[in-house]
């Protein structure tokens, strides 16, 4: 097969945001009649690239050619008119309009300016039926569940006779059967000559349906391959950005007496049996003992955070049982979990954790005060004592309780968040990506802290995208993939990054 000329060709695309360069000279080609996977971890630049291609944002530099002709897209309408059709990750339709209107808005059949409603609904019904969906097109869109809405969005995008169809994580709200339906539809459109760009975090799906792939990392293209040329291990390495050998070296640290820990007769502090949540994470079994660090590894979107949120009651499980201290519990809200000594440090410390406009002191005391209720205030003396104790213990700098939290560096903010939870003296601490985006020194300090806290008998769930970190700190390692806990091992010298990586990549547990 000769290489046909690309339908969409983006060259040297650069996009600078105030803080980061989201795209740095990215070249991206879409050929007619192919399904092309666009891959990369969070922050790699996928979304920005799609926004540039669809006219939501304009790039600072670079050219876009459509069918060989240079084009500019100042607005989404311009990209659509040129034949680029997009389905975004969140359903981007108007829930108040009917299904038919959502599919055909902007292309309503009219006669002398008057919308022909009968014709509109007939056309929409035809399109919907073509895609094997059974919905009443005259009903408002919000009468249907999210998955159906997502399929309607796809029908809308495919109905335009587009040359290019961009699907940004369309499968995240679909179940297996709906995904199968979608893939059949994608293959059919491909065979009709449409160029499809498919973004997903599910690696299996890439190998199931895609022909070629482009991998982004840190705003640059790190690889453009035929899917058949690159196995899942190679792909994960490309995305994560480290060669296996390099990882091996980093992971060559002492693994402590983990075997004893897991063999320990200490009863489980928290025990999950078949706990799961539809659309979040499939049912899993998990056990954490006092003094044990349970590390969770997996790619972004593999269900790491979803699992943690279930244990903390931030989301409610819809299956399975959860026991704390041998007693079955239902965690209806984070307050329930806090009451049982479970604490959760969110991965998004800016949005979900710290309050930047309050001082260090106020931030530290927040969770403790919340746990006590507003009726029993903490006395000023006791508060100052506790605050200075934790500032010293965690070495928060500057060691001044009156500094605003927003002025601290990332690492110190993370320590501050930790202090806030530690002050409530939790028995199980869930840390979701505690070391992301902080410098090496602070990272090491937080890792040391995890070790010493577990030595003191605190149970921890440690979630991190960095494998070596998980392997260094954990007594038990769990691997998540495609929203499933696929393996749990007792950590030990025999457990290598290779094995974990290949499990992340293939889902097969050797």
């Amino acid at each position: 097969m000769t290489d046909p000329s690309p339908v969409l060709e983006m060259t040297g695309i650069t996009k600078q945001f105030p803080a980061v360069r989201a795209l740095d000279g990215v070249d991206f080609r879409l050929l007619p009649g192919e399904i092309h996977a666009l891959l990369g971890e969070n922050g790699a630049g996928k979304s920005t690239l799609i926004k540039v291609a669809t006219g939501v944002q304009e790039s600072d530099a670079g050219t876009i050619r459509l069918g060989g002709v240079p084009v500019r897209f100042p607005a989404p309408a311009a990209a659509q008119a040129a034949g680029i059709s997009t389905v975004y990750q969140e359903v981007n339709l108007c829930p108040n309009l009917s299904v038919a209107e959502n599919i055909l808005i902007g292309r309503e059949p009219t006669r002398a300016g008057r919308i022909r409603w009968k014709e509109l609904e007939r056309q929409a019904a035809e399109l919907v039926a073509r895609f094997g969906l059974d919905v009443d097109v005259s009903a408002p869109l919000d009468a249907y569940p999210l998955a159906v809405q997502q399929l309607v969005a796809i029908v809308r995008a495919a109905a335009v006779q587009a040359k290019v169809l961009i699907l940004d994580e369309p499968t995240s709200s679909l179940d297996r059967q709906e995904v199968t339906r979608l893939f059949e539809l994608m293959r059919r459109l491909r065979d009709e000559g449409v160029a499809i760009c498919f973004v997903t975090h599910f690696l299996d799906q890439i190998y199931e349906v895609c022909d070629r792939m482009t991998v982004l990392r840190g705003g640059r293209v790190v690889g453009e391959h035929l899917v058949s040329d690159l196995d899942q291990g190679g792909l994960v390495r490309l995305m994560v950005g480290r060669e296996l050998a390099e990882l091996d070296e980093l992971a060559d640290h002492v693994r402590t007496e983990s075997a004893q820990h897991t063999e320990d007769a200490a009863p489980a502090l928290l025990h999950a049996q078949g706990t799961g949540r539809r659309g979040g994470i499939e049912p899993f079994d998990l056990e954490v003992r006092a003094g044990e660090v349970l590390g969770l590894a997996g790619l972004l979107g593999s269900g790491r955070t979803e699992l943690a949120r279930l244990l903390f009651g931030a989301d409610q499980a819809d299956s399975g049982t959860l026991t704390v201290d041998g007693e079955a519990v239902t965690l209806r809200s984070p307050a329930d979990a806090i009451e049982r000594g479970i604490a959760f440090c969110s991965e998004d410390r800016k949005a979900e954790g710290l309050i930047p406009a309050l001082t260090v002191r106020e931030n530290i005391i927040l969770a403790m005060q919340a746990a006590r209720g507003w009726i029993r205030p903490v006395s000023a003396r006791q508060r100052d004592e506790l605050v200075s104790q934790y500032i010293t213990a965690l070495d928060i700098r500057p060691a001044n309780p009156d500094v605003l939290a927003g002025q601290l560096s990332g690492g110190n903010q993370q320590k501050l968040l930790l202090a806030r939870w530690l002050i409530t003296q939790p028995r199980l601490l869930i840390l979701d990506e505690p070391t992301r985006g902080i410098d090496v020194g602070a990272k090491a300090e937080i890792q040391k802290l995890v070790v010493s806290l577990s030595d003191e008998g605190m149970a921890m769930v440690f979630i991190s995208a960095e494998l070596e970190e998980v392997l260094r700190l954990s007594h038990t390692v769990g691997v998540l993939r495609d929203r499933r806990l696929v393996a749990t091992w007792a950590n030990g010298p025999e457990l290598g990054t290779d094995q974990v990586l290949s499990t992340i990549a293939s889902g097969v547990h050797e």
Binding site: V91, N92, N96, L97, I105, R114, R130, L185
Partner: protein
């Protein structure tokens, strides 16, 4: 296009499950508030009839007067419906009406311009004022609340620029137009203003439900970001919506002039709030995207009927109108909340 290749035989989609249930459909129906308002109107009317039938409450003219006495409010509320459906708000309505009465009275009475020239001019100024506010809202991404608040002060201030005191209109054409009546069967009549307001209403129903522009207004109110991504020209639509509102305000101003035959800097003070109340009582969501102009008509009629009932009662202060309006508004906003919660 070949026959569908998607195999759905494996999982026959259950029609009953895929379709919204009937009862739930009624509770979640966007028409429910309109039905409630209609029922309320009927109940109030029956209540009034049983209490005041000796005072000729039952005559057709009582109903016809609801249209005659509230024609300007109806037109203003129709404009407000466009804005609220799109997810915005327009606080400049009352001022625009006041300004129009002032300008019309001044040009007709003092400058002796022909009414047929002044009317289009006033409408054009209203539309242009609305377009300007829409442009500022869209281009500078400012809250419509603030921009139209500025409009409120601006046009009220401009009233005094035209003339400091109120102007009585004795112009022959205006008087004749004001007295023009359309005779209906059963010894009832509609004024010219009432008829024109119904024409505006019919035009609005057509535009909102049968043109692309109308559907864009709904799309904008449903989810502006989505509408943008779906290729709806958000900016143009937004500017157009405020233009419609400005036009309707000026139109309402002309009807008000006709109704009261004078211009006054204090005319229609706070009328935008009545218009917004009528829209909300008529079942349109304040957050936008859901509602009907016919609901707005019902809202105006309910407000008008409250006034009528209180005047028939005779002993009640007219302030009770405000109390009743406030209570109704609260009830309808709560109904909207409950419906929104049901839907989720």
């Amino acid at each position: 296009m070949t026959a569908p290749v998607l195999d759905t035989s494996e999982t026959p989609p259950k029609r009953a499950a895929d379709r919204p249930k009937r009862f739930a459909a009624l509770l979640g129906s966007k028409r429910l508030p309109v039905y409630v308002t209609a029922a309320l109107f009927v109940a109030m009317y029956i209540g009034g009839y049983s209490r005041y039938q000796n005072l000729n409450f039952g005559t057709g003219q009582v109903v016809a007067n609801l249209f005659v006495d509230n024609c300007y409010l109806l037109v203003a509320a129709v404009g407000a419906t466009f804005v609220i459906l799109s997810g915005g708000i327009d606080l400049s309505i009352g001022s625009m009406i006041g300004f129009t009465t002032m300008l019309t009275a001044f040009l007709v009475q003092k400058e002796h311009w022909p009414v047929l020239l002044v009317a289009p001019l006033a409408l054009a100024i209203g539309a242009a004022g609305g377009a300007l506010m829409g442009y500022v809202i869209h281009e500078f991404e400012i809250q419509p609340f603030i921009v139209t608040l500025a409009g409120l002060f601006l046009f009220r201030g401009l009233c005094e620029m035209v003339n400091k005191e109120s102007i009585q209109i004795t112009d022959h054409t205006v008087t004749r137009l004001a007295l023009f009546h359309i005779q209906l069967p059963g010894d009832t009549f509609l004024s010219l203003g009432a008829v024109l307001s119904l024409v505006v209403l019919a035009a609005a129903v057509y535009v909102l439900h049968h043109t692309r522009f109308g559907r864009r207004v709904y799309a904008l109110g449903g989810n502006e970001h989505s509408a943008l991504l779906m290729g709806v020209p958000v900016g143009r639509t937004k500017i157009a919506v405020y233009t419609v509102s400005g036009f309707c305000s000026a139109f309402a101003g002309l009807l008000f002039t006709l109704y009261i035959q004078s211009g006054d800097p204090l005319h229609a003070l706070g009328l935008e709030l009545d218009a917004i109340a009528a829209v909300v009582i008529g079942g349109t969501l304040l957050t936008g995207g859901s509602g009907y102009v016919l609901g707005t008509l019902l809202g105006v009629l309910v407000l008008g009927l409250i006034k009528t009932l209180i005047s028939f009662e005779g002993t009640l202060s007219s302030w009770w109108t405000k109390i009743a309006t406030g209570a109704l508004l609260l009830a309808f906003i709560l109904l909207q909340r409950v419906m929104a919660a049901k839907r989720r």
